[in-house]
Symmetry: C2
Subunit: 343 residues, 2 copies
DNA sequence: ATGTTTTGCACAAACGTTTGCGCAAAAGTT
DNA sequence: AACTTTTGCGCAAACGTTTGTGCAAAACAT
């Protein structure tokens, strides 16, 4: 009842009456190196064609300790920011001969942990992660096992793990500067996951911009705690209930801003008539909204490509990457969701 | 220089001075079945903890001919329709203990073919595909090798490969009906890849609706040939150049409609003032566009979940799925991009 | 004709599992 | 005390590769 695989090197060997090792060598292009006769090479190649031979990658991986597979752990593949990165990660990897196994952590540290373990057990050659928590021991363990890693978006400086992320500080600074230059002073900021460095940096940029213009920082305007649309929605609702609601809201991620937009509409407030809105992450549709939204663009394509290149370079060189982190520039795209008001 | 793995069953065996087979059995919970003493079980389990043992999944996969991995070949992970499906595929699979390796075919038949081969060589347990071409011999070959497959979105009836897709015919019919009931007669339809069944079905629905209302079908209004935003853009431009341009455009996919919208704006035409627009695929932002767009919603979540369930059921039962295809309902979501005009 | 080099390939181990079978020791039976 | 059964575990093969080493035959040299 057991189904035998009829497509192995062994079958070729039997068919051509040569040894398995000889077959393996010609199939791997090592014919001359091992002095296999052209004659033998030919019949082996021919037999391989005929039998439609393709190598069992598990066996090869086991033997070679190399799978030509990388893992990618992403917090939410449905988030367009991440799906664009994933797109580029996959394409770059594929062009280099690697497959990618995709794991969605759902922003859950436990899911991330178990995914890391599974990937390691699958003997992937390297891993790209946008980590969720602050606890990264499981990732450092990987590093100890000499498995190349690169962080995307979220990162941990000083841990000697290369990362690629946006210029979050600068991006946020410019966004807030833009707001201030348009006369805003009561500017709210809705965060994503507070422990993530991109958010910390964006908040730092937000605060720095305010200070730069001598505007006092009102801590009660810094709200929110995750990347969901609901977070943006709820926090906006709450902000609007304040005695002195903000004149502008800075959403620190696309989903958050989307939620903010929904809340504003629900409250019957116009953008930017009643409240100005500015968001991190640019998306094609922002230009076609009833109020085109000004945004801080992140170059997802670049981020994905660079990270994957860094990873594969590490894998193939066997060395750690020289540069620790790469910050890819952001760009403020001014549209019409920021109103000019009288300071 | 060679790096030895110090984390194998063999090392546990050495440490506890028992045989590899015994260790394997208790680690796999087959202790009683093979009459391993509780005593032995305990020290093995303890040693496994201490050594932090985790199984090499390549070796296990090779031996068991089972990898707990499925492949997913998708035409464009950055397309929100697909990324939502991918999200659900991954989540469902993960909950069932499977990993998914994601391959983006970029709507290229050759990429698809080679991805299929690679996945098969990796000995994945099953595969979900949204196929690109009409040529599916490479997929039928898989079937011959008893590798479970299910199609998503695109499909091939009569090939005995289960699929899950939307009620494309009905969805399109209703969309066009909606247009007609609002007085439109010159309705253009911008297609995606013509050879794909969903598109054929949508076009069929489009035509049926027209005929149903005794409106002559103008073939010159059925245009376009792929799923890109550019396709929507260009075809719209061309449609507008006609002596009698359409009063309404039906974009057969989200990117297409987006391109149409961009073209309309560029031409200075208002939606729906000058041209009505209706699209396949609903997306959250459609509601917030300057003209909220009416859309035919596809239930991406359901599609992803059902397909993955079908696949895993096949894998774990060893049988083909009973049902050949599942059509999940669509829903017309009327917003304001369709103008009521005088028939 | 003998000795040396080259040619052409095969043997067998190894990667880390799982599992059918076998076998000694312990326990139970009479 | 001798025989049967049960208990507890190990041996070795197998999954499909790759590769270091060995070795006979052929070719070359003198």
């Amino acid at each position: 009842m057991k189904e035998y695989n009829l497509n192995t090197i062994k079958h070729i060997a039997e068919k051509v009456e040569l040894s398995v090792s000889t077959v393996s060598r010609v199939l791997n292009g090592k014919a001359k190196k091992y002095r296999i006769s052209d004659e033998a090479s030919e019949i082996i190649l021919k037999a391989a064609k005929e039998l439609n031979y393709t190598p069992n990658l598990l066996a090869r991986g086991l033997r070679l300790n190399k799978t030509f597979t990388i893992g990618y752990i992403i917090p939410d593949i449905a988030n367009p920011f991440f799906s664009r990165i994933a797109d580029n990660v996959e394409k770059y990897a594929r062009k280099k001969g690697y497959s990618v196994v995709l794991c969605d952590s759902e922003e859950d540290a436990n899911v991330e942990k178990s995914s890391v373990q599974i990937l390691a057990d699958k003997k992937i050659d390297g891993m790209i992660i946008s980590p969720v928590g602050q606890e990264i021991q499981h990732i450092l363990d990987l590093k100890k096992k000499k498995i190349p890693i690169v962080f995307i978006d979220r990162y941990f400086p000083g841990k000697d793990i290369p990362f690629v992320t946006s210029e979050n500080y600068k991006g946020a600074f410019e966004a807030v500067k833009h707001l201030i230059e348009n006369g805003h002073e009561r500017i709210a900021c809705i965060q994503g996951l507070k422990e993530t460095l991109p958010i910390m940096e964006r908040v730092r940029g937000y605060i720095a911009a305010l200070k730069n213009y001598n505007i006092p920082v009102d801590e009660s305007l810094i709200v929110g705690d995750n990347f969901s649309e609901q977070n943006g929605y709820i926090e906006t609702k709450l902000l609007l209930k304040k005695s002195k609601p903000p004149t502008a809201i800075f959403g620190l991620s696309n989903l958050i801003s989307f939620g903010a937009m929904r809340a504003l509409r629900e409250e019957g407030l116009s953008i930017p008539g009643d409240t100005s809105l500015i968001t991190f992450d640019d998306l094609p549709y922002l230009d076609f909204l009833s109020t085109p939204m000004t945004a801080v663009e992140q170059q997802g394509n670049e981020i994905g490509n660079i990270a994957t290149k860094m990873l594969i370079d590490q894998i193939e060189s066997g060395k750690n990457y020289e540069a620790e982190g790469i910050f890819v520039p952001t760009k403020l795209i001014a549209r019409s969701s920021v109103k000019k008001i009288n300071g």
